[in-house]
Symmetry: C2
Subunit: 391 residues, 2 copies
C-alpha cells in the first residue's frame, strides 16, 4: 500500500509466465502492434507512435528528453516535487539549458504561472510531471498544451504515477509526448515504459534520424544532430516498432506480455471507471487517516486520487511505524524524499491495491500500530470513516 | 532455435510469476544482494560491483560505455561483426574518439593484432564483443586484459551472446567491465543486463559521481564531469544496489526474479558443465547441417559453441525456408545482418534450447524443408550425424 511499486494484478503475473516467441515471429510482431493500439486508448490519443521503451519509467523519461532535446536547447521545468527535479537532472545531462519555476512542495501551478515562465524563457520543450508522488500533488494539465502551442514549445509530460488512476487526455490537452510506467495504477511491475509521441514531436525526432552502423543501407544517411543515446534513440525505436521492423534492442518479451495485460485489464474496466475507482478508494483512505487523527500533507484539492501523504505525528518514530506495518501486518507504506524524508507517510491505493479490502485492512492495521506508538486514535475510527465513504 | 532470444527455461517463467514486494522491503534488498553474489559466480569474479541494469543487453552496453567514457576519450573497438559496429555506435554517441581495427566477418583477432592497435591508438578503453552473433565468431580474450593493462587501458567486453555457453573468466583474463543479457545461454527473457566492474573501473566511474537533485544531501557535491545519462549512470546505480540503497530507478522486480533464477539454474548445473553441454549440442548441430549438405560460414575453429551460421544454398529462397520451418514445424531459425542478411541461416543451441530433442527435431525438420526447397539431402543424414556426436 505504498506509493508504488505495488502488488501486481495476478492476471498480469500469469500473462508474464507465457513462453517467449522469436522477435520477428508474426505472433510477436502482431502482439507489438496490438500493444500500440491498446496504449493509444490508455493515453487517449490517435498518435501512431505509441509503444514501449524497454526499461523502467525513468528510462521512458530519458528516452523522451534525449530524443527531443539537442545540446543548448532551452527547457522549462515547472518543479513541484522530486520528480520535477528529476526532469531537470535528465534534461541537464542532455546538454539542455534548463530553466525552472517552482512552487513549494505540496502545491501545484496555475496555468498563468506556467505561461508567464514560458513567455519569459521561450523554451523548445516544457517538461512537467502530472502526478509527483513525492508530494502526492497532481498538476492540472488541461490548459498547458494550448500555452505551449501559442509559444511554439513542445509539451512533455511524465504520467508515471498518475496514468490509469487520474484522467489523462493526451490529444484533448495537446500533450506532445507522454511517458509512463506499469508499477502504479496500471497494476504491473516496473520495467516497461509506455510512451506516445504526437506527429509534431515525431517530426523533431525524425529530424535527427541516423540508422546505426551494421544495419545502414544506401539512402539511410542520417540527418540532423545524432541523438546522444543509442538505446534511447526514439527514431530507431520507432523503426523497430514500425513496419520496417529494423532491429534495435531485443524486445523484452516478458515485459511486453505484462504491458499488454495491464492495458487490457484497464480498458476492460474502462478508463473512466478506473479513475472513479481510484478516486473512491483514495477518498476512503483520506477519510480514514484523518479520522485516525493524522494531518494530511499538501493541497488536498490537488492531490492525486491514488496516494495520500500524512505528517508523522510529533513524538512518533515514523520509520518504526513503517517497520511494524510491514513486519507485523505485511503491509508496506512509504515515506518520501528530500525535505519530506522520514517526515511523512505515503499510503497508496493504486492499480490492484485500489480495493476495499486492501483499504480497510490497512486502516485497521494502522490504528493498531499508531496506538502502540503512543497516539490515541478512537477505536474503529479509520475503518468507520472509510466505510462511510463507501456508503 | 534461432540466435536468441530463445525459449525460456520454464523455471524462469515460474519465478517471474512471483508476486512483487516493495523496493525497500528487506526481502527485496536481500534478493538484490543475492543476485549480486550469484552473478559474481556467473562472471567468475570477485568484483563487489556486480549487479543488473534494468534494460536489454544493449542497455548494459550503453551503461558501461557512457559511465566509463568522457567526450574526447579515445576508444579502440576491434570489429568482427555487427555487434562490434554497435560498440562503435554507442561509443561515438558518448562523444568518444572511436578508432577501429577490423577483420573480415567470419574471423577473429590475434592478440598481436589487438596489441598493435592499442599501442598505436593509446585508448582509454578497449571495447570488444566476445561472441558476435552476427558472424557466430568467438573472440579469444585470455590475453587482452594483460595487453590493456600494459598500455593503461580499461578492457570492456560485451558477453551477451556467449556468457554461460562459452568460458568467460572476468578476473583471470583481467576484463574490467563485462555486460550481458539473459536471452541467450542464460535461458531467460531479454530485459535485464547483468554487469560487473573491476575496482579500477569503479574508480573511473566514481570519479564522476553526482547524486541527483532531490536526493542530494550536504557532502554529496559531485566530482568530475557528470555522466551524460541519468538512467545509465552506474555511480548512481551502484548507490542503489549498495548499502546506501539510494533511490534511483524503481527496480524491475519481475526481471530481477528472472535474472535470479537464470543464475541459479546455471550455477546448479555448473559453469563448466554448461559450457560442455553447449559445446556438445553445438557440435551436433554443426555435424548435422554439414551432413545435410550445407556449407558453414566463417572460421569454425573460432565459432561460439552455441550458434552456427550456414550459407543458404544457391537457388534456395532462404526466407521461404525460414518461414516454412516456423509455420510448418514451429521452429525458428535466424538469418543475419548487413552483408549476411538473407544469405545465411543461423541456428542456435542456447540455454534451454541446448537439448538433444531440440537439436534432433530441428535437423529432422530442416531435412524435410530443404528437400521441398529442391535440394537433395540424404534421408536421415542430419539426425544420424548428430546422434554420432552424442555417441
Amino acid at each position: 500500500m505504498g506509493p508504488g511499486p505495488i502488488t501486481v494484478d495476478p492476471r498480469v503475473l500469469r500473462a508474464m509466465s507465457t513462453q517467449l516467441v522469436g522477435q520477428y515471429d508474426p505472433a510477436m510482431t502482431a502482439l507489438m502492434t496490438e500493444v500500440m493500439a491498446l496504449y493509444r486508448e490508455v493515453f487517449r490519443t490517435a498518435n501512431e507512435q505509441t509503444f514501449l521503451v524497454d526499461g523502467t519509467s525513468r528510462a521512458g523519461i530519458e528516452a523522451a528528453l534525449v530524443s527531443l532535446l539537442e545540446p543548448g536547447d532551452r527547457v522549462l521545468v515547472p518543479v513541484f516535487g522530486r520528480f520535477g527535479l528529476l526532469l531537470t537532472e535528465i534534461a541537464e545531462r542532455c546538454g539542455a539549458e534548463v530553466h525552472t519555476v517552482e512552487v513549494p512542495w505540496g502545491e501545484v501551478f496555475t496555468p498563468e504561472q506556467v505561461e508567464e515562465a514560458v513567455a519569459s524563457v521561450r523554451p523548445t520543450v516544457v517538461a512537467v510531471v502530472q502526478g509527483d508522488t513525492s508530494t502526492t500533488m497532481c498538476q492540472p494539465l488541461a490548459d498547458l498544451g494550448e500555452v505551449c502551442r501559442r509559444h511554439d514549445a513542445l509539451l512533455y509530460c511524465d504520467a508515471t504515477a498518475s496514468l490509469g488512476g487520474n484522467p489523462f487526455e493526451t490529444d484533448a490537452w495537446g500533450v506532445d509526448v507522454v511517458t509512463a510506467g506499469l508499477q502504479k495504477c496500471l497494476a504491473g511491475p516496473s520495467g516497461s515504459a509506455p510512451v506516445t509521441l504526437s506527429p509534431r514531436a515525431v517530426d523533431v525526432v525524425q529530424g535527427r534520424r541516423h540508422v546505426e552502423a551494421g544495419l545502414r543501407t544506401d539512402g539511410d544517411e542520417g540527418r540532423g544532430r545524432r541523438i546522444a543515446s543509442n538505446y534511447f534513440d526514439l527514431a530507431m525505436v520507432m523503426d523497430y516498432w514500425g513496419p520496417r521492423r529494423l532491429n534495435h534492442h531485443t524486445e523484452a518479451t516478458t515485459m511486453l506480455y505484462g504491458a499488454h495485460e495491464c492495458a487490457r485489464i484497464l480498458l476492460e474496466e474502462g478508463l473512466d471507471e478506473a479513475h472513479a475507482r481510484h478516486a473512491r478508494h483514495g477518498r476512503a483512505v483520506l477519510a480514514g487517516v484523518q479520522a485516525l487523527g493524522l494531518a494530511v500533507f499538501g493541497d488536498v484539492a490537488h492531490k492525486m486520487t491514488n496516494v495520500v501523504a500524512v505528517w508523522v505525528p510529533d513524538g512518533v518514530d515514523g520509520e518504526a511505524v513503517r517497520a511494524s506495518m510491514l513486519t507485523d501486518f505485511g503491509i508496506e507504506i512509504g515515506t518520501s524524499f528530500g525535505p519530506l524524508a522520514g517526515r511523512v507517510w505515503r499510503i497508496g491505493t493504486m492499480g490492484y491495491n485500489a480495493r476495499t479490502d486492501a483499504v480497510l485492512t490497512t486502516l485497521a492495521a494502522l490504528e493498531q500500530v499508531l496506538r502502540r506508538a503512543g497516539t490515541s486514535p478512537r477505536p474503529g475510527a479509520g475503518v468507520d470513516a472509510a466505510l462511510e465513504v463507501y456508503g
